[in-house]
């Protein structure tokens, strides 16, 4: 290497260190604008309080505070609780979001005053969250990168965890459960699990989705035995009704990433579509035994579960809706 080149290189290194350092320093001292002023607005009477996360359609960076809407906004979280996905039951809240650093994903439990309690790190992008109706278990689905069996290092697969809500830590992972199909053990390298919904009368029991190849199986599982049983194909992101008799889910149209919302009868496993005609990618929530609520990413809508009527706008600028039971104090 000529000494002239060496000098140029040293000059470039100095320039980069100074330039990069200055840029980061200015960025570090600039005011932090990660908090939100987005305001969910009730567009129709829901007959019951609904918890949502705020969505600002103008600037997606300013998302995620938790609101409780009951005709008007009745409660909202502080800057310290911003979520990509939120759920709440029996005094136990679960919020999945990005850590303040911006590079870590975290799960945070919170109380009935919307105050954060405990935080733990997640291994991927938050996708789904649930809490059993007795507040004992939580469920988390995240997207992770880097499972090369899909032929690409950036392909995403999922991990689904069961969380002990009081201890605020994962206690089981569905990937380690035994799957049974038609009475026999069922294994596969491309197994992906997502979208747990707990039985409202027995939090040990739950339903979830298993994706493998082009199939999306509805699973029935138990936390205590680590067993999962395949019930039928074509069901993603199941959600049990409060009376435990029906499951709302998204049904994939062909092989594309478009979905229709449907409801199936738990006893017969037969399904019918609801009146929502748009493609919805969400784990649906039940407002009561007759009505579904869900988000298209920017607003929350409601539709009758029996296939009648039509979808109506319920809350503007909101996502991740959660039914709040009448006995809850928020």
């Amino acid at each position: 290497m000529g000494s002239r080149n060496a000098k140029i290189l040293v000059a470039l290194v100095v320039l980069c260190v100074v330039g990069g350092g200055a840029y980061v320093a200015v960025a570090a001292l600039a005011p932090n604008e990660t908090s939100t002023d987005a305001n969910p607005v009730a567009a129709a009477d829901a007959d019951a309080p609904v918890m949502v996360r705020a969505v600002d359609p103008g600037d997606t960076r300013l998302n995620g505070r938790v609101f409780v809407v009951d005709g008007t906004v009745t409660a909202r979280s502080g800057k310290d609780l911003t979520c990509e996905r939120v759920y709440y039951a029996a005094g136990h809240g679960l919020c999945l979001g990005v850590a303040a650093s911006g590079v870590e994903y975290t799960a945070t439990t919170f109380d009935s005053k919307l105050r954060p309690l405990h935080t733990f790190t997640l291994t991927g992008l938050p996708s789904r969250a649930r809490v059993s109706s007795d507040g004992r278990y939580g469920a988390i689905t995240v997207f992770v990168a880097g499972d090369a069996y899909r032929g690409s290092s950036a392909a995403f697969s999922t991990r689904t965890y069961v969380v002990d809500m009081a201890a605020a830590k994962p206690i089981a992972q569905l990937e380690q459960f035994q799957v049974i199909k038609e009475g026999k053990p069922f294994e596969g390298v491309d197994f992906n699990f997502w979208g747990i919904t707990f039985d409202p009368t027995d939090s040990n029991r739950f339903y979830a989705t298993l994706g493998t190849g082009t199939h999306h199986y509805l699973l029935e599982g138990e936390v205590s035995t680590h067993e999962l049983k395949v019930l039928r194909d074509g069901v993603e992101c199941p959600s049990l009704s409060p009376d435990g008799k029906e499951i709302a889910f998204k049904s994939r149209m062909g092989s594309s990433d478009t979905w229709r919302l449907k409801v199936l009868d738990v006893a017969t496993l037969k399904d019918h579509p609801v009146a929502e005609r748009r493609s919805i990618d969400d784990q649906v929530e039940w407002l009561n035994d007759d009505t579904l609520v869900y988000s298209n990413g920017t607003n929350v809508y409601a539709v009758p579960a029996d296939g009648s009527g039509e979808a109506k706008l319920l809350i503007r600028d909101a996502g991740s809706p959660v039914r709040i039971e009448s006995g809850e104090k928020l």
């Binding site: 290497m1 080149n5 060496a6 140029i8 290189l9 470039l12 290194v13 980069c16 330039g19 990069g20 840029y23 980061v24 960025a27 570090a28 600039a30 932090n32 990660t34 997606t60 960076r61 998302n63 990509e84 990005v98 303040a100 650093s101 911006g102 590079v103 994903y105 733990f120 790190t121 997640l122 291994t123 992008l125 997207f143 990168a145 880097g146 499972d147 090369a148 069996y149 899909r150 032929g151 690409s152 290092s153 950036a154 392909a155 995403f156 991990r159 994962p170 992972q173 990937e175 380690q176 053990p185 294994e187 596969g188 390298v189 491309d190 493998t212 190849g213 990433d257 990618d281 990413g297």
Partner: protein
């Protein structure tokens, strides 16, 4: 005589960063390693935060990124062979490598300028992949041409060790910046761009384009002559050996998934598997390269693939424990250190000087096809006959592959010596 020399060497200050000779490799190899290290810091910084940036700042579906990457990976494989031949044909390895590194650097600029559209991000990932496809073969040819027959594997060891240091530092740098300036992704992109250009600058300013082993006269190699490599027994035997070995080795990602199902550890610790393997690879790449140059590259290469038996055994065991887990991750790191770089060194020794980049390009493509087929086959077996049975099939396959590859490689080396 020997003793005197040795003690004099001891008296000299061993500033390895100023005297790459202390590592027994040429300055060119060391500088190419630095280039890769800086470029990897740059790419890994972005790769670490890209998913979170896409989904939380741009509201894109995480599946979009996977689709983009899969598409361009295929393109990169085709570019690889072409870029290898072109750099031999024009005798411009350095310039072709510069073009490849330049692609990635320009991609980072585009990220700073237009990082707020999903389509823009797609174009940048494409740029990065194609750039990687362009640069790999000419860069490895430069490493080979800058080495002597005696330190070829050490050279590749040094290069791969530096490269993996970059891959290790990248996420830490990104994390550090976002810790200081929360959610300021633009600062990460900016610093990443600086690293990419520094890497390019090291290549342009310090790497010799015509290392001494490079042919200086005669007609440039024709396409026919390059294609004729596929009729030369020493190279074809090597390709066959590489193919059977890559077909029977399970990818690391699949091993991690398998281990995770067999060993009952905290799911949150999953990323640690990658870290332990990467550290083992980083630490072992140079000593194993030296060992390969001293005792023979073929035995070390075969020994590296035999390391996989440790991991296959781990996948079959029901009660591994933490010690067993660490042993099997270190074995995986040793497998990486013994396989990819050493294989390229074997190829470098078998190939004529004027067709280094073409031959290495072909080899890399063959290995990646083998790896892809192996992943598909392992996945299919796992689904149909179960994980443990699939591992047994692959272990038997690897044993047979080693028995086939050993004589192939020995014969390839012998004809290389005679030819």
């Amino acid at each position: 005589m020997y003793q005197v020399e040795a003690s004099r060497a001891l008296l000299k200050p061993r500033l390895w960063f100023r005297r790459p000779e202390a590592l027994r490799v040429s300055r060119n190899v060391f500088m190419l390693g630095l280039t890769s290290m800086l470029t990897d810091v740059s790419s890994e910084m972005v790769a670490t935060i890209l998913p979170i940036y896409l989904v939380f700042s741009l509201g894109a579906s995480p599946l979009a990124l996977g689709a983009i990457d899969g598409t361009y990976r295929g393109a990169a494989a085709v570019v690889q062979v072409g870029a290898g031949f072109v750099s031999d044909r024009w005798r411009r390895h350095k310039q072709v490598a510069e073009t490849g590194y330049g692609f990635s650097a320009l991609g980072k600029v585009a990220l700073v300028a237009a990082g707020s559209s999903v389509g823009g991000i797609g174009a940048i990932v494409a740029f990065d992949r194609i750039g990687k496809g362009i640069r790999t073969a000419p860069r490895d040819a430069l490493i080979s041409l800058s080495s002597t027959r005696d330190n070829l594997a050490t050279s590749f060891g040094v290069h791969r060790a530096l490269d993996s240091v970059g891959a290790f530092l990248g996420p830490l740098v990104a994390f550090g910046i976002l810790l200081a300036a929360p959610a300021r992704f633009d600062a990460v992109f900016f610093v990443s761009t600086l690293f990419a250009f520094l890497g390019l600058a090291v290549l342009v300013l310090t790497v010799q384009g015509k290392p001494w082993r490079a042919p200086r006269e005669g007609t440039p190699p024709s396409f026919r002559r390059a294609a004729g490599l596929l009729r030369e027994s020493r190279f074809v035997l090597l390709l066959l050996a590489a193919l059977v070995l890559s077909l029977t080795s399970v990818s690391d990602a699949l091993i991690y998934v398998g281990l995770q199902r067999n060993v009952d550890f905290d799911p949150a610790a999953f990323p640690l598997l990658y870290v332990v393997t990467a550290v083992a690879f980083m630490a072992l790449a140079i000593p194993i390269g030296r060992l390969a140059d001293r005792v023979g590259r073929v035995p070390v290469l075969l020994g590296g693939f035999a390391m996989l038996f440790v991991d296959y055994a781990a996948l079959l065991s029901n009660d591994l424990g933490y010690v067993g887990l660490i042993v099997c991750l270190v074995a995986l790191g040793a497998f990486f250190a013994c396989s990819e770089g050493v294989l390229t060194a074997v190829a470098g020794a078998a190939l004529p000087d004027d067709l280094q980049a073409s031959g290495i390009g072909i080899l890399i493509t063959v290995v990646s096809v083998g790896n892809l087929l192996s992943s598909l086959a392992f996945g299919a077996l796992w689904v149909t006959i179960g994980l443990q049975q699939a591992v047994v099939v692959f272990a038997a396959g690897l044993a047979i592959a080693l028995l086939i590859a050993a004589p192939l490689l020995v014969r390839s080396q012998r004809s290389a010596l005679n030819g």
